[in-house]
Symmetry: C2
């Protein structure tokens, strides 16, 4: 029995080594890889993806899981072993439906389309990317169809990012959320009090920005002994095992928010991965519970902590030391309001907290339309611009600031976007629980102490990895099902105060 | 028939993808990997190495090769296809003798011992590294014994770096070379004319050094679209396919030679790999002919070009622009002599051309003694110091400057060192042929033109990859067998002039 578990762990360890290595190929592609080697890299990614998939869907693994099933029933169902077997079995059944050749081809194609997207974005010309996007859409439809019957063609895609969540569930939450967010944004727009954020649009030395961001996330508890930060076009986090979790960011020389909040966001992802229980290492459940849960952490550290007043009580004086010229004469309250300025803006990753979910809804609805075939790629830019007009009252002046701004579709990440909004909702649900458990939290932040928060998150969430389904974990920790109220309460309190509503 | 070839190429392509990915794990480990993740990385390297080896020694590949053998006999024996099959068959037979488990364990162990060596070197304490070195020695002995019967236990190790070369061959060449090199070094030491190199021991801004080195190798023809340069503790070159060939170097703030000549050396390796014929891509012969041939190229670009007068006629004025303070009042001839100063020094990678091979001979003899068991690891530092006294007349003051200076033993690279000296010999043999073919070469260098040389090397050597055995290729290009005379002629002419012998 112990032997069989040990064998399984060894086998899964090798699958995870392959997966981690494929992840390194991807990280390298976006950080240091020379531009001329994209073709070779796409072949390497295809081979590694196919081998990983082959090994994870082998008959050998199938019968090992089968052998263990009856024995597992005698274990505590919440033990690591029982959960590992259960989750791996579920994932095994799912991946068995996808042919090896599909996996290799999809990896090869998306490694190439990534470059096309980069070029299209650089030249702000969607037509460069269109044919590749069509290929990806067709391949994602093909993928969804491996899982027939389904309620909705988008369900299998969503399930890859948020296990157990259905398209109908997300639609329902968004339908509840949208009018309330729009009402808030409108009230802010109509407020007689408006925020001036010109202080953020000054010259900020790039390496000084970099150093400040790293100082902050060191204080948060991001572990540089088991991680690092590099530059990339689009910020992201990669985990090659919990002892090697790397983040990236980008730096704008004339706009303060880009680098810092990118760094805080990715550090949230990073601390989650670094905090996963060691006993889960080299298993398929040694990662966050879902993309939504992951975003709850990136957005918590970025926004609930990093865009909060207590944090800046600790760090604004320090920031003034980093940028004496630019910030000497700025006061804390003005700065706090500036970084929280509400704006109907074009770029998702730079959106404030009140408009952010509206950016997501645009993408969610367009993705679904592309998958069902109601919308074709050629009409995507127009549809994109129309939705921005409808939800945010603005129209992108070009493709780079519109439909080409996000990396996700270039790697085939259909189903990904809604998890950002789910993350926002989860983060506020958790936050209310945390405030109850740690009433002293805000005054800890004022002293630049974040250990209390990090320890709470590690003990209640990070350590579990993906042992539990996301909605199950949410229920365990908060006692509730997914609920938009806490997030709306948070937004209305915070922005009501800033905008004197 | 064509189908069978195509299938073989596809299969070998996947093996090469795995090998390239393992190479990336290694590159990353030495450049960007966070220190705390060495254990996980060692597992990944073990898995990738084992899978690569498994795939390269599979029955499937064996019977594919068998099937093709009879057909190959009808092909031109020098065609790419015939050569590919022949070389792959040879390597297949060799690797089949090594068990998968050995390969995985050796990769895992050497990933860990690398870190121990780094620590030992940093603290200049051999005792930290000793136990690990003993493990590696035992594993290399075990490895050699897979290939019994052999003439010498060191033969199988040597063969991995220099196919077809025997321990007895190298001993013979070294026996011829040593007295001639020692005589030259003695003559220089006794010369009444001595070189002052204090100009090199000044403060040189690190990023300016970096920029100058990159300007030079761009002029050489190293392709940054298919490569890049990073920092590492020990300079090295990695190839992940001919379209992604990366080099590293290190920078000393108070000594000019370290960074530049490291960069030129590695760029030589890099240009070789970048120049391999595209039709060989993703095959096991898509790399240099041997380590000796590789060193002939790194040492050619570093020394025959980069330490030559014509090169500095072009680049010294440029270097003065980079470092006006330090070099404004230095004249070209003094600088040229300074970078060629002969010195009985401790560090191999910084040794001048006349003493370099003596450093190699020390290592070659010690490696053999460790492998035969005549010498045990515990006595290695003492033996090292004694040989330095015998051959170079100096004694290392500590382990960091002695027995711990080189990375090679930490990754198990027994058999590697002698290829540096073989490379020196080959480089001069080639150089004499090139001078005959391109009589205008030196005056091209004076105009910073290196395209003629690079084209010659590409057409005659690089393009072939590992189609030919190294000694076969040498014969094809020079008409001769390995010969120490050209190298001695070169040294005696160059240093005779500098030291007015």
């Amino acid at each position: 029995m112990q032997d069989k578990f040990k064998q399984l762990r060894t086998y899964l360890g090798e699958v995870m080594d392959l997966a981690a290595t494929a992840e390194l190929l991807g990280w390298d592609q976006q950080t240091y890889m020379p531009p001329g080697s994209n073709e070779g890299r796409s072949m390497q990614l295809a081979t590694l993806s196919r081998l990983t998939h082959e090994k994870f869907t082998s008959d050998e693994l199938g019968s090992a899981l089968e052998d263990l099933k009856s024995i597992v029933e005698e274990l505590d169902p919440n033990s690591d072993d029982a959960r590992l077997i259960a989750q791996v079995s579920k994932e095994f059944d799912k991946q068995r439906k996808v042919p090896n050749e599909y996996v290799a081809e999809f990896a090869r194609i998306t490694a190439l389309t990534h470059q096309t997207w980069e070029k299209a974005r650089q030249e702000s010309d969607f037509s460069i990317f269109r044919a590749d996007l069509e290929k990806i859409i067709a391949m994602r439809q093909e993928y969804a169809n491996f899982f027939q019957p389904y309620d909705h063609i988008y369900d299998p895609l969503l399930d890859d990012f948020e296990a157990g969540m259905k398209t109908a569930d997300v639609k329902k939450v968004f339908a509840d959320l949208r009018p309330r967010q729009v009402a808030l944004v409108n009230a802010i727009a109509e407020s007689s009090y408006q925020v001036d954020d010109s202080v953020l649009h000054q010259e900020f030395d790039e390496s000084t920005q970099w150093a400040f961001g790293e100082e902050v996330i060191k204080a948060f508890g991001y572990d540089f002994n088991r991680g690092r930060q590099d530059k990339s076009v689009h910020p992201f986090t990669s985990s090659f095992g919990n002892d090697d979790v790397r983040i990236t960011t980008r730096v704008a020389p004339n706009y303060f928010n880009t680098a810092l909040f990118g760094t805080l966001h990715e550090a949230g992802h990073g601390m989650y991965e670094q905090g996963i229980g060691k006993q889960l290492a080299r298993t398929p459940i040694s990662h966050g519970a879902s993309f939504g849960f992951h975003e709850s952490q990136s957005r918590m550290w970025e926004n609930l902590v990093g865009r909060g007043k207590p944090f800046w009580i600790a760090f604004f004086p320090r920031l003034q030391e980093y940028f004496p010229e630019a910030l000497r004469d700025v006061n804390l309250d003005d700065f706090y309001r500036a970084i929280n300025k509400v704006e109907r803006s074009l770029i998702r990753v730079e959106a404030d907290e009140t408009t952010y979910n509206l950016h997501i809804m645009v993408r969610f609805e367009l993705e679904i339309a592309l998958m069902t075939g109601e919308l074709s790629a050629v009409n995507l830019p127009e549809a994109w611009n129309q939705k921005y007009e409808d939800y945010l009252g603005i129209t992108p002046p070009d493709d780079a600031q519109g439909v080409l701004q996000d990396i996700h579709w270039s790697f085939g990440g259909f189903g990904y976007f809604s998890t950002y909004s789910l993350g926002n909702l989860i983060s506020s649900m958790l936050w209310e629980v945390i405030q109850g458990d740690l009433p002293d939290l805000q005054s800890q932040f004022e002293k630049a102490e974040f250990g209390g928060l990090l320890e709470w998150l590690r003990a209640n969430i990070y350590v579990h990895g993906a042992k539990y389904e996301p909605m199950e974990l949410l229920k365990m920790v908060t006692g509730s099902a997914l609920d938009a109220d806490p997030y709306m309460r948070y937004l209305e309190a915070k922005f009501g105060e800033i905008y004197k509503l």
